[in-house]
């Protein structure tokens, strides 16, 4: 899994793909695969109850489970539903691009994703350890100690290289022009606040990459292990 790439990919894609995309569904697509499942992978406390998947890896990426949300097929199906329900091909395609980016990015870890679900084969490059089953904090420490964190750094650098996508001018001339959502929202919310909302995912992805890196390596002293499939101090899950 990726921690910051999914926040930053939409900014880079909308600029460099040279496609007309709508930012809201693009971001929604980028978050969609984990939206319903991540809390159950790590587990939560609800009063006296502890809710956690019995087999987090199977639940998150497998079948039976909700692993189909990380497939290209899921992007196509939900994209088509959005197109038909909202009557907007742009929204459907934008969701598709965001979801595909997420599904493909997550093939980088040791579990990978069932890209062509219902074919349940897991495509995985295995560059960094999947450690979701170890809990949120251990997963964060492991992720930011291996190639996963480095992969996110690439997206941050790419995002900063594409600095124009977060300027007011770009927001006014490209983002608002491409999607009727923003002019509609501007009737109720000041434009400056909308601009901050638009920038939020970029802020979130970059800031939490820095924060988790400092938390793992300065506040705590987890060792870096930039070897393939690492860090090897954590148990890496496999499909």
């Amino acid at each position: 899994m990726s921690w910051a790439a999914h926040d930053l990919e939409p900014y880079a894609f909308q600029r460099h793909l040279r496609l007309k995309v709508a930012f809201v569904p693009l971001l929604l697509g980028s978050y969609a695969p984990d939206m319903m499942s991540k809390w159950f992978v790590y587990g939560i406390h609800l009063g006296p109850w502890d809710l956690k998947a019995h087999d987090p890896v199977q639940f998150h990426r497998g079948w039976p489970g909700v692993g189909f949300t990380h497939s290209l097929t899921y992007g196509v199906v939900i994209g088509l539903i959005i197109w038909k329900v909202f009557g907007s091909r742009l929204w459907g395609v934008s969701f598709l691009v965001g979801e595909w980016a997420h599904a493909l990015t997550d093939t980088g870890d040791t579990v990978g994703t069932m890209l062509f679900f219902p074919w349940t084969h897991h495509f995985h490059i295995g560059a960094w350890a999947y450690a979701g089953q170890a809990g949120r904090l251990t997963d964060a420490a492991a992720y930011f100690s291996g190639f996963g964190g480095m992969w996110d750094a690439v997206w941050i650098a790419y995002g900063l290289f594409s600095w124009r996508v977060i300027t007011r001018r770009y927001f006014d001339e490209v983002i608002c022009e491409a999607d009727a959502f923003w002019p509609w929202a501007a009737r109720y919310v000041p434009r400056g606040a909308l601009l901050a909302v638009y920038r939020a995912a970029f802020f979130y992805g970059t800031s939490r990459w820095i924060a988790w890196t400092l938390w793992a390596h300065v506040y705590h002293h987890y060792p870096y292990d930039l070897t393939w499939g690492g860090p090897h101090w954590v148990h890496a899950a496999h499909p």
């Binding site: 939020a200 802020f203 800031s207 939490r208």
Partner: protein, 72 residues
């Protein structure tokens, strides 16, 4: 030649304007606070919605409030 290339870039300037850099500096200051709090209370780092609320408040709300107070 170099100047002409800069001017002819269809996407606008290749380097940020001073105003852009000030905005960026403001967001960096917001980020420093968010990162500091996030390291101590990691739950803050887990929610996108907390980040949205914070960015809107710190990146737009506070500057807007300061501008309004200055105008009075």
């Amino acid at each position: 030649m170099r100047r002409r290339l800069l001017r002819e870039d269809p996407d606008g300037s290749r380097i940020p304007a001073l105003r852009d850099l000030w905005v960026f500096a403001g967001y960096c200051a917001c980020a420093a606070v968010y990162i500091g709090v996030g390291i101590l209370v990691t739950d803050v780092l887990l929610s996108y919605w907390v980040a949205v609320a914070y960015v809107v408040a710190a990146g737009w709300g506070v500057p807007a409030l300061v501008r309004r107070l200055r105008l009075r």
